[in-house]
């Protein structure tokens, strides 16, 4: 188990190095950041001076390793546009994105687990078909369009909810639904499949046979086992949701790091983009690593393979 954990951690770290190297070269090979920093009025000498100052005249791999060295020490450089340390800009806003992501995944779980359980109780019933229909429709609904439609109906026509900002909890209601519903089809299908399998097992038959009330069997015996893979999948989805937060935060003007990455890309503010890519990738890697290790702990056969 220790060897497995160690191996997986090293691989996870390597993945992050490759991801950051790819994004770094992508952004540095194509555009000239010196032109962005200098602006339109900058003379050729100014541009040359900026290149020297930021080290853009050095080979890309050299620039990358010096960036990586500083990033490992927690220094992501300074924003080209705002002339503010990137770490400060991110730490000011990351809380909102984390809150939004957590609320969204909770919303997804609260909708999908009961729906999946109900559907599994009576496979092929009307309710099951209804749940499946919701899943099929949900998967096809473009997130950002759903968000826009909610703004029009709930925000503009009925005036129930505020349509932009992040100062009160009401601001989070629509973004949470818009971001969270997209994960529900996958989580619901997994809950349903897991529950159908568990409900057919021997210990459930035993529990029923000894006369336990149906809801005790369902929630205490069956759901407890069926829910483990669902939670693991939810952890991975949380990583995906951070990526989805870019569109949602931009639409609702909720200034988290998703919004920040959009703003930074509009201004070609590479250090900010670079840092956010690494944060999103780290989240994904850490969450999948945790899910894998949890699985290996629950099923020791995995770590031997």
């Amino acid at each position: 188990m220790l060897a497995y954990t160690l191996k997986r951690t090293v691989v996870a770290f390597l993945i992050l190095v490759v991801v950051s190297a790819l994004t770094f070269s992508l952004s540095h090979l194509s555009a000239d950041p010196a032109l962005t920093i200098g602006g339109e009025q900058a003379s050729d000498e100014d541009i040359e001076a900026i290149r020297k100052l930021y080290g853009f005249d050095r080979p890309v791999y050299e620039q990358y390793f010096s960036w990586l060295g500083r990033a490992l020490a927690g220094d992501f450089g300074e924003s080209y546009h705002y002339k503010q340390p990137v770490v400060e800009m991110i730490s000011e806003r990351i809380g909102r994105t984390m809150l939004l992501g957590t609320l969204a995944i909770l919303f997804a779980l609260i909708v999908s687990i009961p729906l999946g359980t109900l559907a599994a109780m009576r496979p092929n019933s009307l309710l099951d078909r209804f749940a499946l229909l919701i899943a099929v429709f949900g998967q096809a609904l473009p997130t950002f369009w759903f968000a826009l439609m909610m703004i029009i109906v709930l925000g503009v026509w009925w005036r129930w909810l505020p349509i932009s900002g992040h100062d009160q909890w009401l601001n989070y209601v629509m973004p949470t639904i818009a971001l969270g519903y997209y994960a529900t089809p996958a989580l619901m299908r997994l809950t349903r499949a897991g529950m159908i399998e568990v409900l057919g097992s021997d210990y459930i038959r035993t529990a029923r046979a000894k006369g336990l009330p149906p809801f005790v069997v369902l929630f205490k015996h069956a759901l407890r086992n069926a829910i483990i893979p669902v939670v693991a999948l939810a952890a991975v989805w949380f990583g995906f949701m951070l990526g989805g937060s870019i569109v949602i935060e931009t639409i609702f003007n909720l200034k988290g790091i998703g919004w920040l990455s959009y703003d930074a890309l509009l201004r070609s503010d590479l250090p900010v983009v670079q840092a956010i890519v690494l944060i999103f990738a780290s989240f994904y890697v850490v969450l999948t690593l945790a899910a894998d290790l949890l699985n290996a702990y629950l099923d020791p056969r995995i770590s031997v393979r």
């Binding site: 994004t23 096809a140 609904l141 369009w145 503009v156 870019i246 990455s261 509009l266 990738a281 999948t288």
Partner: protein, 312 residues
């Protein structure tokens, strides 16, 4: 009923039963399954309709049924669609946008962009993913380890953010969007192809081909590939839908297809400033997007059910 079967202890049957002889042909069985699978039927009909619209758009335009999607007419800007209670312009069934372009024509031409992005992305990513997945699954060992690392690296990259960054770096255009999405959306292909190839590698007839001394490329192309084909088509539909949604989101944020191209995502972007008074400007392109993706997903789901039952 006369049963002429003589089963040997090994279960090898030497003669067909009367039921088997009278059984409908595989083709008519398949046809029955298709017509009983409403999800597949719905998906196929809607998809064919949208593809037909996309292909016939220039014909409709030549016949004068729809307008030129690029034709601006400022005097007739922001006309309402036909169901609106206010005065409507008969010439523009679904109204006009902020520079007076016919909304219906732009919606119809928009299907071309979505389908083009969906198909091209699917071809590029399908090729990359299948090559990686089949290689990893067939050879196993170190090759598998390397491919697995590549897949995990790709999964760790926040696609949307990196795609936006790539569009900024290389300039926004249809080609860049297709290439970027094609180079990113191969992960599911690789994962699925890898696991199916692993299973197929140990099938008896593949072993037999190896024992006969067939070359590795021959085994992969002739023996393994037919096995993965049905899963490949299902993954392809999923990824096509995915690519269409991503392009729309990119274009909506201004990091995708650029004006004046009629892309549904871009139309949503342009309609945003009119959301308070003309909600239909947002409702229509989004509804088209929803229908197209729904049709592709239902077609894919149905295809899986129809083909899987045949294999059973």
């Amino acid at each position: 009923m006369t049963d002429t079967t003589t089963s040997s202890p090994l279960g090898l049957r030497t003669q067909q039963t009367a039921e088997e002889i009278l059984e409908p042909s595989p083709f008519s069985k398949l046809r029955k399954r298709i017509f009983k699978n409403y999800s597949f039927l719905f998906g196929a009909v809607v998809l064919i309709f949208i593809i037909a619209m996309a292909l016939l758009a220039p014909v409709f335009e030549a016949l004068g049924w729809i307008h030129d999607p690029y034709d601006q007419e400022l005097a007739r800007r922001l006309q309402n669609p036909f169901w609106h209670e206010k005065k409507v312009d008969e010439a523009h069934l679904l109204g006009t946008d902020k520079v007076g372009r016919d909304y219906l024509s732009r919606l119809i031409y928009g299907s071309q962009i979505s389908l083009l992005i969906g198909f091209s992305t699917m071809l590029i990513s399908g090729f990359i993913g299948t090559v990686l997945g089949v290689t990893a699954g067939y050879f196993g060992g170190r090759v598998d380890m390397v491919v697995n690392f590549i897949i995990n690296t790709r999964l760790a990259m926040p696609v949307f953010l990196v795609a936006m960054a790539a569009v900024v770096a290389f300039g926004a255009s249809l080609t860049v969007v297709i290439l970027v999405l094609g180079l990113f959306l191969w992960d599911r292909f690789a994962v699925v192809m890898r696991s199916i190839t692993q299973q197929a590698r140990d099938l008896d007839y593949v072993k037999a081909a190896r024992a006969l001394g067939c070359s590795t490329p021959h085994i992969i192309v002739r023996e393994i590939f037919p096995n993965v084909l049905s899963s490949l088509t299902v993954v392809a539909t999923v990824e096509m839908a995915n690519a269409i949604l991503l392009e729309a989101a990119l274009s909506f944020l201004g990091f995708g297809v650029q004006a004046p191209t009629p892309s549904w995502g871009l139309m949503l972007n342009e309609g945003r400033e009119y959301m308070f008074f003309s909600a239909w400007m947002l409702a229509l392109p989004g509804a088209c997007l929803f229908m197209l993706v729904l049709a592709i997903n239902m077609f894919g789901d149905g295809l899986r059910d129809v083909t899987l039952e045949r294999e059973r």
